[in-house]
Amino acid sequence: MKIEVLGTGCPKCRKLTELVTETVKETGVTAEIGKVDKINDIMNYGVMITPALAIDGKVVVAGRIPSKDEIKKWIGEKQPK
């Protein structure tokens, strides 16, 4: 699974990266966590407001920091049944 944090490096973007890292550890899933911080790359995802989070290329949230439970739910949806 590939999880990407989209943002240019503001405090909220950094907070989201921390939160995602913690959540991945807690759930024990195997995931590659990456950052997308170039404005043109962010725009290529169609994201107009940051921070945003994409899982396997699909944007699941933009413009706010989601809760840990929300992140767990999105990760769970991507896990093989």
């Binding site: 503001c10 405090p11 725009m43 995802y45 169609g46 107009m48 945003a52 699909k58």
Partner: protein, 137 residues
Amino acid sequence: MAECCSGGKTRIIHTCSGASDVGEIADKTARKLSKDGYGNMTCLAAIGAHLSGFVESAKGADENITIDGCPVACAKKNLEHIGVTPKSYILTEMGLVKGKTPITEKIVTEISNRIKEKKQKTRTDADKSGEGSCCCG
């Protein structure tokens, strides 16, 4: 342009960009408002195509405005389909007549100014209630 740490509310502008004269004026108005820094214009077709980045950006924005040429209100309905209630502007309800309106810079500027004025009133009310903050808080 992606927004963060802008120190204000995020406002996204969607327009029908329809085939009629009023659709074209709606499109030009949205482009002018975007160029003027009033908000960020985005692609309505991407919302209709359910592209996740555009959909989530609309859901996460502080404010979405739609500019439709006529009462069919395609832009407004596109937003409603994804669960977002926009502030809607319909040009035929602002005095333009579908099929009989010349596409001129004067009309585009007038409509843009009227939208800005209406929002100015709303924002003044919002300011009084203490709304509004940087997204990076």
